[in-house]
């Protein structure tokens, strides 16, 4: 491209500063060669731009609104369908979980309940007392601490008994950590029986 063309195009594009524009316009008046080239390029551009005003079939524009409405109705239908398509698997999963959940609970409850029965029915009191005391190691199986109500007994499986509950079965004066071994077998048996019942009740709930 000629240098003179670039100059004209810079003018067309508005890239010239105000001073440069002034100089260019005055040069345009006095320089026939520049003027001729300027007119030529201007005409070429005008020719290119004239395509904008060509006649069109206006029916197309008249049909846009109805076409658009139709398209939007279809889109709306699809979006509702899409929502349902998503909703179906979600609802199915919820239903499956809902159906399965009671079974899980039942299984969860059944197992400890049957274990509790096992303990209560099949193991004699002596055994229970022995197992509880020796297998669990009494120190870790039973412990006492003080709270607002007095002494509280802590047992395995998160079963806790208030002091009042066990007091009828044990000699309170001997109930301290160092003296647990002094409990009689009968006292242990009675205590465990009571604990089993409470465990059973808790599990049943």
């Amino acid at each position: 491209m000629k240098k003179i063309d670039e100059k004209i195009l810079r003018y067309f594009a508005g890239l010239m500063e105000a001073e440069e524009v002034k100089r260019f316009e005055s040069q345009l008046k006095n320089d026939p060669e520049l003027k001729e080239r300027f007119v030529y390029l201007e005409n070429r551009l005008t020719d290119l731009l004239s395509v904008h005003d060509i006649g069109v079939n206006d029916l197309y524009f008249d049909s846009i609104v109805p076409k658009l409405r139709e398209k939007m109705t279809i889109k709306r239908k699809y979006s509702i369908l899409k929502k349902y398509t998503l909703a179906i698997p979600i609802v199915s999963v919820i239903l499956i979980l809902f159906i399965l959940t009671p079974f899980y609970d039942k299984e969860y409850i059944d197992q400890p309940v049957s274990l509790a029965y096992e303990i209560i029915k099949n193991i004699n009191d002596d055994e229970i007392a022995d197992n509880l005391i020796y297998d669990y190691s009494l120190e870790s199986a039973l412990s006492f601490s003080e709270n607002g109500n007095g002494l509280e007994l802590y047992l395995p499986e998160n079963v806790s008994l208030s002091f009042n509950t066990i007091s009828p079965y044990v000699d309170i004066s001997r109930l301290d950590y160092t003296q647990l071994e002094n409990l009689s077998n009968a006292e242990y048996q009675q205590l465990y029986k009571n604990l089993s019942m409470i465990t059973f009740e808790k599990v049943s709930k």
Partner: protein, 188 residues
């Protein structure tokens, strides 16, 4: 702001308000007001009736869905141009990608010219000739060339739509002009 622009903004505001409050005919009026501008911008950007029609429909649907959240932070005219311009640029990119993958563009062209709204063959040829030249421009230069020449927008308006600086737009327009004239001269 001249009186015409002010009237246009007031009118747009009124129509949008009516549409938002549930008057569907207000939307039809907005469509009738802007459909030609949208179509022609898309047509000059994409050079094809079929694509321009698709973009026009898309833009109008976007308008329908988003007008409720349009807060008149810019004029409706600028907002619509932003949508149509961005969509047209995306369509150009999609087309380029499609061209790389498929080779069957002749069939598409035939289909598009069959439904073209420009019935006069001489005019259609003329438009195609310009489009062939515009096709050689990078998409952003084409966008500025179209906005400046066919949409008759000022640099300030283009800057609001594209988010580019006026200086950068001028430079881009200069390069677009240079390339277009070179291409036209080459053909002659």
């Amino acid at each position: 702001m001249n009186n015409f622009n002010k009237m246009q903004i007031d009118n747009d505001f009124e129509l949008v308000e009516k549409f938002v409050s549930g008057d569907e005919t207000a939307f039809n009026l907005l469509v009738r007001k802007y459909q030609k501008k949208i179509y022609w911008h898309a047509r000059q950007m994409l050079g094809d009736h079929h694509d321009a029609d698709e973009i026009t429909q898309e833009v109008l649907i976007v308008m329908y869905n988003k007008l409720k959240t349009f807060g008149f932070k810019s004029s409706l005219y600028t907002w619509i141009y932003k949508i149509v311009s961005t969509r047209s640029l995306n369509q150009i990119r999609r087309k380029k990608l499609k061209k790389l993958i498929t080779f069957d563009s002749a069939n598409e062209k035939e289909l598009s010219s069959k439904h073209d709204i420009i019935q006069d063959i001489a005019n259609r040829d003329k438009l195609e000739k310009v489009n062939n030249a515009l096709d050689k421009l990078p998409a952003k230069q084409r966008q500025i060339f179209v906005m400046r020449n066919y949409d008759q927008l000022s640099y300030e308006e283009i800057s609001k739509i594209t988010g580019k600086s006026v200086g950068g737009l001028k430079a881009n327009y200069f390069h677009a002009l240079k390339k277009i004239l070179e291409l036209v001269n080459e053909k002659d």
